[in-house]
Structures are given as C-alpha cells and as structure tokens.
C-alpha cells in the first residue's frame, strides 16, 4: 500500500533540520513533490522501526504530525497478528483506565474555574493546597495502617475515672479525647497478641517485656513500641524523599542558567496566559501586559536616573527603620509569649478553657504582625514588585520561625524536661493536645480573617472601591505553617494528619468561594514558576527540616514519660529499636553481626556526620558542574556574536567588491 501524504496547507518549518534529534533531520514538513514526500516518509518509517517502542512513542509525541499519521507510524512494527491485537487491547484498557482516573481527579472543575478567572498565579496556591493534601493523606494512611488500627483493635486497660464527652473536647482536644487512640498516651508498650481462647474469660492478655505465657504464640504478634518507632521514622524518610524530588523537579523547570537579555521579546511572545477565559480577566491581563511593556520600554530607552548621595542615605534610613520595626515587634511578641507560656504552665489544670489562651495569642500574633510588615513595606515603597514580595516572605518567615522555635523550646525544653513540676503525668499527650489546639485555632483564625477581610468588603463597611487582592504569598506561608504543626505533632498525635486533611479540605472550599466572590485578579506581575519553587523550598527547608529535627531530638535524647505511651520504662524512644535488636540476638546468635552493625553504624553519631559530609560534597560538585555549564554557554554566545559580525563584514566586503567590479 503506497502511503501518500495529503497536501499540506500548513506552513512548513524549514529550520526543523537544526533539531538535535538526528533521526528527524530532513524529514521536515516541506511541501515538495509527492515523490520526495513519499521517500521521506519511507525513510522516517524505516528509522522508527529501528527504535524501541518507548523511544518511538516519545519521538512521535514531539513531532507536529496529526494524530492519524502518528497512529499510522506507531503501528508499523513487524509483529504477528496476535501480538498486534494484544497491543491494541492493552491500549484500549489503558485509555479507559485513564478516562476513569481523569473523571476522579480531585477538584478538576473548581481549579479550572479559578484559573479561568484569576490566571496561573492564584491557581498555584490551590495546587499547593492539593499537594499538601496528598502529603497528609499519605501520612494518614501509613500511621493509620501501622499504628492506629492495631491499637484500636487491641485496646489497653484504661485507668478509672475517665471524663465523659462534652462539646469542649472538639476545641481543646483534652477531656474525653485524652484517653483515646488519638494521643500517644493510649498506646501500649508491649507486644500485642490475640487473646487466649482456652483461657476462659481472659481477654487481651497483656504481656510484659521479657516473660511469656504458654497459651499464646500461635497467632501473629505485633510489637507496638517497635511499630510506633519505625512507622514514624519511615514516614518521615519517605516524605523527605518525595519533598526533595519535587523540589529538584520544580527547581529544574524554573531555573534558567543564562541571565535573559530578551526581556521584551519574551514579554510579547510568552506572557499571555492561555488559561484565562473570563472576559474581565482577559481585559485586565491585556492592560497588565501593556503597562509592563511601557515600563520595560521606558527602562530600555532612558538611562537609569542616579540617586544623589543624600537620596541614597534617606532610602537607607527608611529601610533600616522598617527592618527595625519588624524585628523589634517580632522580638517583643516572642518575649511576651515566653512569659505567657510560663504563666500558662502554672495555671495548667485550672480550667479547660484556659488551655486555649496560648494558641489564641499565637494565632493573633500570626494574623496581626504581617499587617504591620505590610505597612512598613508601603512606607519603604519598593520599585520592583518581586523584591517587595521576597522581602514580605522573608519577614513573615522570620516571624513564624521564631514563634515555632520558641514553642518547641517550651515544649521539649521545659515541659518534657520536668513534667512533674507542672503536674503532668503524660507530657507527650499534653504536647499532642497543644498541637491539636494550635492547628484548630490556626484554622478558626484563617476562617475569621477570610470572613472579615474579604466578605466584609461586600458590606462596604470599609468603603473601599476596589475589591481586595488575593495575597498569594501570605496565604501560602500560612499553609506551610499549618503543615509544620502537623509534622511536629505526628509523633505525639498519630491522628493529627486526619485533622489536617479535614482542615485543608474545608479550607479549599472556603478560600475558593471567597476568592470567586470577593477578590479581583492580581494587578502586579507574578512569576509563577519561581514562586512555586520558592514555596516548595520553604516547605522542605525550614518547615520539614525543623519538624524532623525536633522529632529526632525527641526520639534520641528526651526521656519518655514513665507511666504512659509505648516507650515507658525506656531511657529514650530510640532504645526500642536497640532492644529489639538485642532480643533478636538473644534468640538467634547468628544475628550478632546485625547487632554489632547496629551499634556501630546507627548509634554512633560519627557515621551520620560522615554521611552528611558526603552528601554536601556531592551537592557542591553538582553546583560546580552547573557553574561550568553556565560559563560555556556565555562563551558560545560570544562566539555566535563574533561569527555574525565576521559574516557581516565579509558580506559587506563582497558587496563593495561587486559594486566596484560592475562600475569598472
């Protein structure tokens, strides 16, 4: 069958041959004579036959041929009829599975509505929220399957005098909830086994660590302390890997080695956001682009106005004042917090409602201080909007890091060190409850802020003519703060990821309806890919790193409480793993190698230092490679310039020679 290409009226791309893929050089889309077309197509077909299936598919995906042609080309392999039908059948089922998955995609319609009206910038906030939801879902699955479920199925013997359920539990997390599977204190410190059938009415036989009863051991056993320790460790490890992977992927997409010279061309050809479909937003976007083009033209044309020394000094003073205000207010709030946390310790068991005082104060600080920072930034009057955004993020971050740092010191340094001083029997459950309260208060205050900040505009209480703009950076930082709390709390409250999932779910719908009803599209340009990289980096570095450092310190060096939880009677939580290895060694002396390896490698901090050192060396090496590539690119660009200049000279000389030749 002779394959004849139909006449293409689509424009031909003659420069296709410069593509890096040698196999499609010369197979361009030229409208030549039909014979040339046919031979080219045959060559393409032959070439494709030599590739493996995945290579062929990848190459075809990048070629601007129509779907019918691609399907023709990809079905060429010289396989038998049976294999052919199997492939077709597999493709059918794959497509139907994809259709099903596509219909399941969470919030597909909602995201489309938001991006249609506000563009990619605001969409990135909602996509970030979706990412966090998946992280928490993964954590919930892991902790639920390995910790919560086994313990829920084998409930321990509870102490007498449990309080009954009153509504306040939902806010404080204490009371009825404190003796449930929600907190650390509920978990048993022994190996869970099924109850003895032949032993009459004894249910849930509890075993202490060393001794055994004769009736058990036929059924599966579940070492709770070990499971608790390893689940948390593995969950954090996998989250770390996923975070670093997504961070590097995002970084790769947004990082451009060469400082771009073609700003105007990029603005004209790459800045239109094709996702926006609402008429008013489209109008706004074209106004934005016009304004930016005018600013760029002004920049390119005029010389930069140099500031006099006096003006420079004035600007320096203004910046200094703004930073002093910000740092000063942060320090003042942190010191006040320290005082109130000490007072809260002393009045701890006074009333349940007083437990809410500290979270409320912290949430208020988180809400009001960024407003102060905005005022300071308005006073400073930055020219470049991206610098302004980065400064705002820095200040916000500084505030949240100091507040969280103080809280961690308060819990791990004071509460955990001396729990009897405050009258606590089980400090881990208390810390878990505190984190639950903080998470909840954060959610309630975000809700109130949305209501009063955005809905109130509708009532024209503040008499502002313009709708408020959705502050992407501030909202994303709040999400990161909430996620840090969730990561800090997983060790003490295994069900905290579930609370966070519910919170994020509700937050999505609240923020979406608020944005759709009350906000207008952002007026300033927003570099989406850079910002997304910054946010993922912030999620990985201060947030996840801080949480994992806290959890590691807790597991490594803090004494667990002696009367509750899976690690009672141990010196540190880490001992659970060590004790298991010792037991293994006792049962099977051949595993002594494992025990020795464990004691040398895992317990010795020297190994960790060496590992971290190697990691840093690898990173340094890669950064040097990137640096070198950058230099090569600039050298090559210089060469291109030189060659172009050279060619121009030769061409001019030739023209002159020709003119002279003609006249003579």
């Amino acid at each position: 069958m002779q394959l004849r290409r139909r006449r293409q009226s689509r424009p031909a791309i003659r420069d296709f041959s410069r593509s890096a893929r040698p196999s499609i050089r010369g197979y361009g889309m030229e409208v030549d004579s039909t014979d040339a077309e046919v031979s080219k197509r045959d060559r393409l077909v032959n070439n494709l036959q030599n590739l493996s299936v995945s290579d062929r598919v990848r190459m075809l995906r990048g070629m601007p041929l129509s779907v019918a042609e691609k399907s023709e080309l990809s079905q060429i392999p010289c396989c038998s009829q049976l294999k052919y039908y199997i492939i077709i059948g597999a493709r059918h089922s794959w497509y139907s599975w994809l259709n099903f998955l596509h219909s399941l995609q969470l919030w597909q319609v909602a995201l489309k509505t938001v991006s249609g009206r506000f563009g990619t910038g605001v969409l990135s906030y909602f996509l970030f929220l979706k990412t966090l939801l998946f992280f928490n879902f993964f954590l919930f699955l892991v902790t639920g399957a390995f910790m919560v479920l086994p313990q829920a199925v084998h409930p321990p013997v509870l102490p007498a005098g449990r309080s009954s359920f009153s509504g306040l539990e939902l806010l404080t997390g204490a009371g009825y909830f404190s003796d449930t599977v929600m907190y650390y204190g509920y978990y048993s410190n022994y190996t869970l086994r099924k109850s003895c059938r032949d032993d009459g009415g004894v249910q849930n036989v509890s075993l202490s660590n060393g001794t055994r009863l004769d009736c058990v051991s036929k059924h599966l056993s579940y070492n709770m302390p070990l499971a608790y320790f390893f689940t948390i460790g593995v969950a954090f490890f996998i989250t770390c890997i996923i975070l670093v992977y997504s961070m590097s992927k995002s970084f790769g997409q947004s990082f451009r080695i060469d400082k771009s010279h073609s700003i105007l061309a990029m603005k004209v050809l790459c800045s239109w956001d094709f996702k926006v479909i609402k008429k008013t937003s489209v109008k706004l976007m074209s106004e934005n682009i016009s304004t930016q083009l005018k600013e760029l033209l002004a920049e390119v044309n005029q010389k930069h106005v140099k500031n006099t020394a006096c003006q420079k000094l004035w600007r320096l003073m203004v910046h200094g004042l703004a930073w002093t205000i910000c740092i000063g207010s942060t320090t003042a709030c942190v010191l006040k917090l320290q005082q109130s946390s000490r007072i809260a310790d002393n009045n701890l068991l006074l009333t349940e409602a007083s437990l809410l005082a500290l979270p409320v104060v912290v949430s208020l600080i988180n809400l009001l201080l960024p407003g102060l920072f905005n005022l300071a930034a308005w006073m400073e009057d930055y020219e470049s909007p991206s610098v302004r955004t980065y400064v705002a993020i820095c200040r916000n971050l500084m505030l949240k890091v100091s507040v969280l740092g103080l809280l961690c010191y308060h819990w791990l340094g004071r509460v955990a060190a001396d729990p009897e001083d405050i009258g606590l029997k089980c400090w881990e459950s208390f810390v878990g409850q505190e984190l639950y309260r903080f998470l909840l208060m954060d959610f309630i205050f975000t809700l109130l802020d949305t209501l009063f900040g955005e809905f109130l505009w509708r009532l024209k209480v503040l008499k502002r003519r313009r709708k408020p703009v959705f502050d992407i950076a501030r909202n994303v930082l709040e999400l990161i703060y909430g996620q840090t709390l969730a990561w800090l709390g997983v060790l003490f409250t295994p069900l905290l990821p579930a609370v966070q999932i519910i919170k994020l779910f509700l937050l999505f719908y609240i923020k979406k309806s608020s944005v759709m009803m009350n906000c207008q599209a952002p007026r300033k340009p927003y570099r989406v890919s850079q910002m997304t990289t910054v946010f993922i980096t912030l999620l990985c570095f201060p947030s996840f790193l801080g949480a994992s450092v806290c959890v590691t310190i807790t597991m490594w060096s803090i004494t667990p409480s002696s009367s509750c939880g899976p690690f009672r009677e141990l010196k540190t939580m880490f001992q659970a793993g060590k004790r298991w290895v010792e037991e293994l060694e006792k049962d099977n002396p051949n595993l002594s190698v494992l025990a020795r390896a464990h004691s040398y490698l895992v317990e010795n901090p020297f190994f960790l230092f060496v590992g971290a050192g190697i990691f840093l060396i690898v990173i340094y090496f890669h950064s040097q490679v990137v640096d070198g590539q950058r230099k090569i690119i600039s050298l090559l660009q210089e060469q291109i310039e030189n060659v172009r200049h050279h060619l121009n000279t030769v061409y001019t000389a030739l023209c002159n020679y020709e003119d002279n030749y003609k006249t003579n």
């Binding site: 139909r6 420069d15 399907s71 994809l98 050809l269 790459c270 094709f274 172009r644």
Partner: protein, 185 residues
Amino acid sequence: VCRETTVESSMKRDNKPNCPVLVPSVILHSRYRELAPHLVPLDYTNNPDIRVPLALIVAMPELKENPFRDRIVETFSEDGHGNLSFNDFVDMFSALCETSPRELKTIYAFKIYDFNRDSFICKEDLRKTLNKLTKGDLTPEEVTLVCDKSIEEADLDGDSKLSFSDFENMISKAPDFLSNFHVRI
C-alpha cells in the same frame, strides 16, 4: 481517497477515533459534538469527513476570549482556514495540554505567531501579535519601538526576523512558557 483509506483503516481497527494519551477521548468527543450536534455523528465508524467551521470552534468558552483564537484554530486545521475535523480538534487540545512536551508547544507557538506563514516571525507578525495582546493600549510609535527592540534582542542570525531556532532559543529562557501555553479542557 488516500485520506479516507487512512482514517477508515485506523477507525476500523479501534472502533472509535484515535486519541492520544494526553486528554481522555470521551471528553473530547463530547465537546466536539457539542459544537455542532447536527453535523457531528455519535458514531465514527463510517468514517465521516466532517469538519466543524471556524466560527463554531472559536465560540468555545476556552477560546472565546483568547485574542489568538483564530490563529490557533487555523494552525491546527488541515486547510488552513480553520475548519477542524475531529482529528485536528484532538491534535489541538493535545498540543495545548498540560503534559504536552516542550518541543511540541514551541513548534505550535511559532506557527501560531507566524501570521503570514512564511516560517519566520517578521516585524509585521510581531506587530499583529502586539496589537492583539494590547488591544490598542499602546501608541503606534510604541508598537514599532517594541517590535524593533524585540527583534534586536531575539534575532541571532541577523536577518531581522525570527527564525524557528531564534524563537526556540528565546523560549528556552522563559520559565513560564510551559504553564502559560496551556488550555484546560
């Protein structure tokens, strides 16, 4: 005749229109049919040579307000006048999809901005692009200035128009291109 053979044989094999992995076929077919229910049949096994005209396609909500809608549809049409068959329709949304490869998006973006279809983006093409983008907010002098400066910045081979490699080089430095050149369906 040859075209019918191609489409017909591929249809008979799969019993429904070929669709790439990028966007589910069911959704695309229902959207295509919505545009012209009297024209587009439910069943594609008899190989209908149906093309939906330009005016109906640019009425889609995803394209209605886009200043480049005519150019986009013309680029993906076989006859160059904007009448899309179902295959062309699928091509269009696959190329504009989120997971579409960067090279493909670059090629089609170049074709869209090349108004006179001479495989170069010359000053006139840029002028038309700019007018569609800004809808008259810039004065004619500013438009000329922007076009001149853009060509100056991006033209590497010195022919005062942008060839595909110039365009590709410039796009590779724009980190937002991939996320901007995306139509959600």
